[in-house]
């Protein structure tokens, strides 16, 4: 019998683990006692309606928010109290929901800001050009970022995240605001990066997009883990369908 991707990945080591992680903003419970494990090489999606706590989890993984409870482990090392830049140096990289790019600089200059911390001067230019080629946006390298389309800015930000030599990439709604062609390109890009061995955890609302690329998914609802499994299992789960439809 053919094994599912999730079954295949159970033999692999977890690269990221969230153990009993919770986050309260005053009396508001944003995330409650979440346990999550992402295996090396996985392409895992966090889905859930608005307010489910997806972006809060991303911010806790990156060190923007400190969890109220629980711990976060990256490659078996506790990173709960580490600063964002230390997590990036360990191999965690993020593309934010709203493109986090410097609009008044060129695409190349943006990449340089990211790459300077991780590559020596001699190899940096080659690496940046390699990333532009991978993203197929070499023609944009001299353009001012504010002049690029939303999709091009998203891809540039993925490039910037890749310039940080990540072992794991977090993508917060990589297809948000994109047209069908741009969404297809983004799906291909994410699959291509995962095929090269990069572990990817992403957030998205678009179930078609998720079904197209994710190997596994975790559903969040009101700050709690609601379901977990392969994308097909999740898509056919009646309770998940209900919360998405607001039942």
């Amino acid at each position: 019998m053919k094994k599912t991707s999730v079954e295949n990945s159970t033999n692999k080591k977890a690269i990221l683990e969230l153990k009993g992680v919770g986050k309260y903003f005053g009396g508001l419970r944003a995330v409650d006692n979440i346990n999550l494990s992402v295996k090396k090489g996985d392409l895992h999606c966090l889905i859930g309606p608005n307010g489910a706590g997806k972006s809060t989890i991303f911010k806790m993984i990156m060190g923007v928010y400190k969890p109220t409870s629980g711990s976060i482990l990256f490659e078996n090392n506790a990173i709960t109290n580490k600063r964002t830049w230390d997590r990036v140096k360990l191999g965690l990289s993020i593309k934010m929901q709203i493109p986090g790019v410097y609009g008044d600089l060129t695409a190349y200059e943006n990449m340089k800001i990211a790459a300077q911390n991780f590559y020596k001067r001699r190899e940096m230019n080659n690496k940046i050009m390699e990333l532009f080629d991978l993203l197929e946006i070499t023609n944009l390298k001299s353009k001012i970022v504010n002049n690029l389309s939303h999709g091009q800015q998203q891809w540039l930000e993925i490039g910037m995240a890749l310039a940080c030599k990540p072992k794991m990439l977090l993508l917060d709604e990589p297809a948000a605001g994109l047209g069908p062609e741009e969404t297809n390109y983004t799906s291909d890009l994410i699959r291509k990066l995962n095929d090269k061995g990069l572990t990817i955890l992403f957030i998205d609302h678009d179930m078609d997009f998720v079904k197209n690329i994710a190997k596994s998914a975790t559903v969040l609802h009101l700050g709690n883990k609601f379901a977990e499994g392969t994308v097909d299992e999740i898509a056919s789960n009646q309770k998940v369908i209900d919360i998405y439809l607001g039942k």
């Binding site: 830049w85 410097y102 001012i144 310039a163």
Partner: protein, 291 residues
Amino acid sequence: MSLSSLMNQFINDFSFLILAAIGLAVIFGMMKIINLAHGEFIMLGAYITTLSAQAGVPLIISIVFGAIGVGIMGYLIDRLIICRLYGRTLDSVVVTWGISMVIQQGMLIIFGPSLQGVSTPLGSVSFAGSTYSVYRILLFAISIGALFLLYLIFMKTKFGLYSRATMQNQEIARSMGVNTNRIYSMTFSIGAAFAGLTGGLYAPTMAISPTFGTGFLMQSFVTVIVGGANPLIGTSLSGGVLGIVNSILDTTWGTFFGEIGLLICAILVIRLLPLGFSGVVEKWFVRKRRM
């Protein structure tokens, strides 16, 4: 009013305005911290320089000591106090005002109301019927050198790139692995070091007392207000324009009218160009790059 006396006055005013403002401009422009302890940083640079020179250290090395000493102190003040005020511009005014009082009163208690100064070195030269102080000409050259150094630090180094990235959007910079806390501390330290350098450079020309920095405060704030947030473009342009205004008024009607002229310039710029000279230049550059 002869051209040579006007030139002499401009050399003095330009260097004074640039050197008085450069440290303040770095801290305000890059960190949005309004440092009311700027005058005290200048005063500390003057004290370190004077005490070193009195201990037998050559003046030029004493001035470097002044800059480095105040730079280190700036780093410590940032780590201990200012780091809690990033993004809180108004709070920083109150806190740095408190720091200024502590430093000023501390120096008064330790060293008394005045300190014996060092004499102005290098003598003077005559040119076209006017006598110029060589040290004042050197200060003019150093003020241009300081602007060039600022350009090199913030435009040509890895630190400068990170610093500009952090000031534009610290969240993106952090997610690119930039230790933004260190960048802020280094920037504050560089601003303080420039203030210390100014104190050291002017120590041989003025009476040394705990209120030494007060004489720089009005000019430094006016230069930063007129120049705008970009420490490099703003300081150089406003130093040039205000230097011309001040030297003409000063030479014609005296120091009082020179200072009134500076304040009128500040009022006009706040009214007509709220982002200062550098805001206008940056807008022009952005528009040009987008075309």
